[in-house]
């Protein structure tokens, strides 16, 4: 992977943490990309913002805790984390309590974000 060929990749994450296996797959891909020194950004869109709920207790359903996994993103140097402001409002989420720091974007800013990356991966 030549550095000159570096592609900016945006993962668009639209699924809730425990409703399907897609949420976990998208975060695993983010961690893998970071481990290979790729420039990766995350956008939590629509129901995807539900991954930012604080106090997830996944052991109650025998799952890995996705909220706690998200808290490790800064250790992977993943700092470009964005969240859909409309969905945050719709679900009355408190971003200050979220497991990872995320920047809230309105509709127009999200369109610009999608246009500023080379590849989009929709989950």
């Amino acid at each position: 992977m030549a550095a000159s060929e570096a592609k900016r990749v945006l993962l668009v994450i639209r699924h809730s943490p425990y409703g399907s296996s897609l949420a976990r797959a998208s975060i695993d891909l983010a961690l893998a990309a970071a481990a290979f020194d790729q420039d990766v950004s995350l956008l939590f869109l629509g129901d995807g913002v539900l991954q930012l709920c604080p106090d997830q207790q996944a052991d109650a359903v025998g799952s890995r805790n996705l909220g706690r996994l998200l808290a490790s993103l800064p250790l992977y140097d993943i700092t470009q984390v964005y969240v859909d402001a409309d969905a945050v409002t719709r679900y009355r989420l408190d971003l200050a309590a979220a497991p990872v720091t995320a920047q809230a974007l309105d509709r127009q800013a999200i369109s610009q974000l999608m246009g500023s990356h080379d590849h989009l991966v929709g989950f």
Binding site: R14, L45, G46, M114, L120
Partner: protein, 96 residues
């Protein structure tokens, strides 16, 4: 400019999110259950017409759904047309 592909029915959250983020000049290819969003006169189709998106429908999926006769042939493309869209648009966003 983005090529959006939608493989989910017009009642889905995927459709709502896609519609919200589509920009004028983007293209939208409907496939699978997404083809129902092309049905003329439906709220989904009216919203798509308002969004000024270039609308395409995968021919075989519309045929399977039984709605081929209700869709203007100008919007219908085959798999090669799908490939051509990805040549024209450097990014694709899959909604499903």
């Amino acid at each position: 400019m983005i090529l959006h592909t939608l493989n989910a029915s017009p009642s889905s959250a995927a459709f709502a999110d896609c519609l919200r983020l589509i920009s004028p000049g983007d293209a939208l290819l409907l496939l699978g259950d997404g083809v129902y969003a092309a049905l003329p006169g439906t709220p989904a189709r009216l919203a798509l017409d308002d969004s000024a998106v270039q609308l395409y429908v995968l021919h075989d999926d519309a045929a399977a759904a039984g709605i081929l006769g209700r869709i203007d042939s100008a919007h219908l493309i085959d798999i090669q047309g799908f490939v051509e869209l990805t040549e024209r648009f450097s990014r694709q966003m899959a909604w499903y």
